[in-house]
């Protein structure tokens, strides 16, 4: 019963969000701020995690493929496919759900409990549209770029294993990451990430916007936003993988 209530409230909120902004200029200002806040400020964590995961995947792939019947380039191939198909789109979005999602839920939740949203509404501003639409569109703009950057940096991490250790040769790795490359997998990752970006921002905004009570409730809204975004991302990953692959 509660799920139906949440779904109803969510769709009603989205109906308020997806309207033409009151003032285009204000919308674009908010949108560019969100691009910076959600996209550019996420770049450091994306780079660090992708670099390490790329390196770790390479080491693990080497450990699991130490078989004379398997070609030596398979390590690079496995690293590339794992990064493209799952890590840089899904796992990265799960990580960003923690960073961006909790940030959005706590920001909007605090505005709700301190009556800032009421103040906007009383001024005649469509607060849902003003606050949430730029966030959704900004992350949907930035996410494909973050996915591409993550894949590239992950591949560099794998290359570093070859360059600085004797686990694999750089030449074998480079052959592997180019072998039987299917460009559609890049699109597959990008398409998934667009869905995930929508889930993270809309769900986190919903939990923040509907927060009631005090600071404790804002914390709860933030936790709910992250947990439910993660569950929905995994569920969507399953559905989209079935549909797109």
């Amino acid at each position: 019963m509660k799920i139906i209530q949440h779904l109803g409230e969510y769709w009603m909120l989205m109906a308020k969000v997806f309207r033409l902004p009151d003032r285009q200029r204000m919308f674009w200002r908010q949108y560019s701020r969100e691009l910076e806040k959600q996209g550019l400020q996420s770049l450091p964590i994306v780079i660090v995690i992708s670099l390490f995961i790329g390196a770790i995947l390479t080491i693990q792939a080497k450990t699991n493929t130490e078989n004379p019947f398997l070609p030596t380039y398979i390590v690079g191939l496995l690293t590339r496919e794992t990064l493209l198909l799952e890590f840089s789109s899904t796992i990265l979005c799960l990580i960003l759900a923690g960073k961006v999602g909790s940030n959005i839920a706590s920001e909007i939740g605090t505005m709700r409990i301190t009556e800032q949203i009421d103040a906007m509404e009383i001024m005649g501003v469509n607060s849902a549209n003003y606050l949430i639409l730029p966030k959704i569109l900004a992350l949907m703009t930035m996410m494909p770029m973050l996915v591409i950057i993550s894949t590239t940096i992950g591949l560099i991490g794998g290359w570093a294993v070859g360059a600085f250790t004797d686990i694999i040769t750089v030449a074998d790795y480079l052959v592997g990451i180019q072998y039987a490359f299917n460009p559609y997998f890049v699109w597959y990752g990008i398409i998934k990430s667009l869905f995930f970006a929508y889930v993270i921002t809309s769900l986190s905004s919903y939990y923040g916007y509907t927060a009631k009570g005090g600071a404790l409730e804002v914390g709860k809204a933030s936790t709910n936003a992250v947990v439910n975004s993660n569950i929905l991302i995994l569920l969507l990953d399953l559905v989209l993988s079935r549909l797109l692959l």
Partner: protein, 252 residues
């Protein structure tokens, strides 16, 4: 002018407002007073359209709020200024940006004229020039209230609502805020509705007072009438403090 006609509001079967009638005139500080839980905040929020009433009429110069469409309510809200209990300043914006916000959203003015208007409003509430670039968290509670008043009057509202404007303020600052609300009300002929239980405020600026008890209007009158009222509930509210008991003796 705002006419409240026979409004009823319940929450989960409990009647919080019970057939309340009142008229709030322009150019006057209209006060809704009463103990905690008497329904004053619900009445204020119903007037603003935050709560939907069960029955009755709320007429803003003849326009019935409960019958308005969403778009009409939003248009009406542009004629309304609100001073929230906690100021509700946008904490991601500076003092100047807070006052500029409603202008940027709704005033079709060139950028420099908007800024001029915002600076004028801030000057009107005695905010110094150097404070304009500060964030709300960097200024005192009294200053936050004054900035909130400046933001509320930026679009020249016809109606001003203040929810416990003195909560959390010292008596001296409270007096400044009260005088400011009174001056602005008279200067711009605004219909001001103040929700409070601060007796000093009531006696200082209350032109027209309605007293609520248990969701019903118990008494209505001016601040001069309070000391002579023979309403028991009002008397026990007003003369809860010894100071006002003494003042009552002097009056009688």
């Amino acid at each position: 002018m705002i006419d409240v006609i026979d409004i009823v509001k319940s929450f989960e079967g409990i009647q919080v407002l019970n057939h309340v009638n009142a008229t709030f005139a322009d150019g006057k500080v209209n006060m809704i007073i009463g103990q905690s839980g008497s329904g004053k905040t619900v009445l204020l929020k119903s007037l603003l359209g935050i709560h939907t009433i069960d029955s009755g009429r709320i007429e803003y110069d003849g326009r019935n709020l409960p019958q308005m469409k969403e778009n009409e309510v939003r248009m009406l809200h542009r004629e309304v200024g609100v001073l929230f209990q906690g100021s509700a300043l946008f904490d991601s914006m500076t003092v100047l940006e807070n006052v500029l916000f409603p202008l940027q959203m709704f005033a079709h003015l060139p950028k420099d004229e908007m800024e001029e208007r915002a600076r004028f409003c801030l000057k009107r509430v005695q905010i110094a020039e150097h404070a304009l670039t500060l964030m709300p968290s960097e200024i005192s509670g009294g200053m936050q209230k004054r900035v909130a008043i400046a933001r509320a009057i930026a679009l020249n509202p016809k109606y001003l609502f203040c929810d416990e404007p003195n909560s959390g303020l010292d008596p001296q600052t409270s007096l400044v805020i009260d005088k400011l609300i009174q001056d602005i009300t008279q200067e711009y002929n605004i219909c001001t509705v103040v929700n409070t239980h601060d007796m000093n405020s009531i006696m200082e600026v209350g032109d027209h007072i309605i007293f609520l008890k248990g969701g019903q209007k118990e008494w209505e009158g001016s601040r001069q009438d309070i000391f002579h009222a023979d309403n028991e509930a009002l008397n026990s509210f007003v003369f809860a403090s010894d100071l006002y008991k003494e003042i009552q003796k002097v009056h009688k």
